[in-house]
């Protein structure tokens, strides 16, 4: 059974149809890159999968580990192992990063019927993850994302992912706004987490992240649908030809 099966997904935002029949299958252990021009619906896909309000699914289905993912609340999806690394991580003044992460960690474990960790146990776990992610523990003591640089915010997303150990990680333009060093760090974090049990959906506008995290599959999302799929060479082709080439091969309105 596939981990994630998206079939003919249609979704609207503020009355405007953004996803127009998107289908995609993801198996455990796979890394899928979703590329596409601005406005194609890449971020909408991430938000629909993680359950954000304001995204109305009008047709189609999303089955995750045999369960109707769209019927779950965002926190239920998280407990089921779905993680969204935000394109724009939210600053939450007054909420300590470690406290927040432990609350999330324990909330998920509670739902899964696993033992919750006390603050000492959790801190031990966090320190191990920090080492792997090469992140300074100073981030732990600050409020969630407050005053973080763009790079720090993105690294904090990957750090959270490392602690929460999701089965399906959706990275929404995690590479955007990063300089090359930060990009490498983020990529290294993702590579560390790659495993046969875990799948990644990497939403990105540019090919450069894929130099460091080599995907198993590359899909082109245009006008709300996957119009082309291939291996990593597709990303290179896109880099060379631009998305204009995609538009020529798959004019809007034509069926895939």
């Amino acid at each position: 059974m596939s981990m994630l099966t998206i079939e003919n997904l249609h979704a609207r935002v503020e009355g405007k149809e953004i996803l127009k029949g998107l289908s995609l299958t993801v198996n455990a252990g796979e890394v899928h890159a979703i590329m596409g021009p601005n406005g194609a619906g890449k971020s909408t896909l991430g938000n629909v999968l993680s359950g954000r309000d304001g995204y109305e699914v009008t047709a189609g289905s999303v089955i995750y580990n045999g369960v109707d993912l769209l019927a779950l609340d965002p926190e239920e999806r998280a407990a089921a192992g779905v993680f969204l690394a935000f394109q724009y991580p939210v600053e939450i003044p007054g909420v300590n990063n470690t406290y927040f992460l432990r609350a999330a960690f324990n909330a998920q474990r509670k739902v899964r019927g696993e033992k919750e960790l006390d603050s000492m146990q959790f801190l031990k776990l966090v320190r191990e993850k920090l080492k792997v992610m090469q992140i300074s523990d100073e981030l732990l003591h600050r409020a969630v994302n407050e005053g973080f640089s763009g790079g720090e915010k993105k690294r904090n997303e990957i750090f959270q992912m490392a602690v929460l150990e999701p089965q399906l990680a959706i990275l929404d333009e995690t590479d955007s706004g990063l300089d090359i060093d930060a990009l490498k760090q983020v990529a290294q974090g993702v590579n560390t987490l790659r495993s046969p049990e875990r799948a990644f959906l990497m939403i990105t506008h540019y090919q450069r992240l894929l130099d460091y995290v080599v995907p198993d599959f590359v899909h082109v999302l245009a006008d709300g649908r996957i119009v082309e799929s291939g291996d990593k060479s597709l990303a290179l082709k896109l880099e060379a030809q631009g998305y204009a080439g995609v538009a020529e091969r798959h004019p809007a309105g034509a069926s895939a």
Partner: protein, 440 residues
């Protein structure tokens, strides 16, 4: 303002016998205040300062004048302790000092601490000036004077506290006011006179609690004078029961280089009104107020700040947060005046509010009047809901909606506790805030 004296509340208050004192000036003062109340009556919502707090329902109720059983009401003194508050303690039950529950036998050097009821039995003359200063401070006249008159006419107990010059009192003094279950609804009135001498320092924790088995109308008036260079940390924890009506007036005078810092938690009560009036009358005086009001159910919590800068280079900063849920109502008015001649003053005020339910309401009104030169002033107020993006962010990590709400609300409120130096007390207050959050 005028209304027939036939309102049950007014009748009941006027019918109450004045407390016997045997002191001519005090009896005369009480009589004057009673007459002033009879003439003025209760304010209605046409009075600007009472625009959002209607007394209609209250005015139809009757309260017995004091509780004859106040000295014997059962209170478990062991439940009164607060973390980080280990100094002398004065406990009042239904407005009367309870020696058996209090601990004031061995006050530290420089601290004089006495219930007003005892002070009046001795030489009352030193209290004459303070007790005669009954009506509101000049600039806030009309705001709650009815209750000030009632209080001046009726208060027979309270706290008389003095710190001698240059004495720094280390352990926080704890004042506890308990509305205990009585045979009927009772009205009680307390009056505090607090003075810090030159260079003196004091930390004061004032707590209001009670039993919800009977209802109370309490008026509390505090006069707090800080002489030159005195420093006061004042924490007010209002956690009365939802059968309580509390009308408080705090009046601060800050002399040269005096510094008062107040942290106020308005949590309990059915109808609670707090007029906090401060006059910065000495150069370089400084006032910092921080507060949270968190009405839920059908509570009505009204805070009225009136800060007047009257001297050179005086500073005030006020940071208040309101959180209203269910059908509750919060009211906040922050009025700052920089008087002529108070050049170089710095006045800032911020009041941010959260509405956690569509039926909750918060009315906030910052006001600023400047009549001096080279003044720095800032004020702002907002009313909003929890940020949807933040909520989603927390939920997307697995934190359930109600927990995410509680987390964000707590963070919102805690900001005003951050600069409370007493860490044990600060953590305790934060826990009380969390306990008050809606659980749904």
């Amino acid at each position: 303002m005028n209304q027939p004296a036939t309102l049950p509340l007014v009748t009941a208050l006027l019918d109450a016998p004045l407390p016997p004192s045997g002191i001519d000036w005090l009896d005369a003062m009480r009589q004057e205040n009673r007459e002033a109340f009879a003439a003025g009556g209760l304010p209605d919502t046409r009075v600007e300062a009472w625009k959002y707090t209607a007394l209609r329902a209250l005015s139809q109720r009757r309260f017995a004048p004091g509780d004859a059983g106040a000295q014997t009401r059962a209170v478990d003194a062991s439940t009164l302790a607060l973390p980080g508050v280990d100094g002398p303690r004065l406990v009042f039950v239904n407005g009367e000092f309870r020696a058996d529950l209090s601990a004031i036998d061995a006050p530290p050097a420089g601290l004089t601490l006495q219930p007003l009821s005892q002070a009046l039995k001795g030489d009352a003359e030193p209290l004459r000036f303070a007790l005669s200063r009954s009506a509101s401070l000049g600039h806030a006249r009309g705001a709650g004077d009815a209750f000030t008159h009632i209080n001046a006419a009726s208060a027979a107990d309270g706290v008389v506290l003095r710190v001698a010059a240059h004495h720094k009192i280390a352990a926080p003094v704890h004042l506890v006011f308990i509305g205990a279950a009585a045979d009927a609804a009772v009205a009680w009135h307390v009056r505090h006179i607090i003075e810090l001498g030159e260079g003196a320092e004091l930390s004061l924790v004032e707590q209001h609690i009670g039993s919800d088995e009977s209802s109370h109308l309490a008026t509390l008036v505090s006069d707090i004078d800080l002489r030159e260079g005195a420093v006061l940390h004042h924490v007010l924890l209002q956690n009365a029961t939802t059968t309580s009506t509390l009308i408080r007036q705090s009046r601060l005078r800050l002399h040269t280089k005096a510094h008062a810092m107040m942290h106020v938690l308005e949590l309990g009560g059915a109808l609670v009104r707090h007029d906090l009036q401060a006059e910065l009358i000495g150069d370089d005086a400084q006032l910092d107020t921080r507060g949270v009001f968190m009405p839920h159910g059908r509570q009505h919590l009204d805070t009225q700040l009136a800060i007047r800068h009257q001297a050179l280079n005086t500073r005030s900063s006020s940071n208040w947060r309101g959180v209203a849920s269910d059908r509750a109502r919060g009211v906040f008015r922050g009025a700052m005046v920089v008087a002529p001649g108070a050049d170089g003053s710095d006045a800032s005020l911020s009041n941010k509010n959260l509405l956690l339910s569509p039926n909750a309401e918060i009315d906030t009104k910052p006001e600023l009047e400047i009549y001096a030169d080279e003044v720095k002033a800032a004020h702002g107020a907002t009313v909003g809901q929890l940020d949807e993006r933040s909520l989603f962010y927390l939920r997307s990590r697995g934190i359930p909606l109600h927990e995410a709400r509680a987390l964000l609300t707590t963070a919102f409120c805690r900001a005003v506790l951050d600069d409370l130096p007493n860490e044990a007390l600060r953590e305790h207050l934060a826990e009380l805030l969390i306990a008050q959050l809606p659980t749904h």
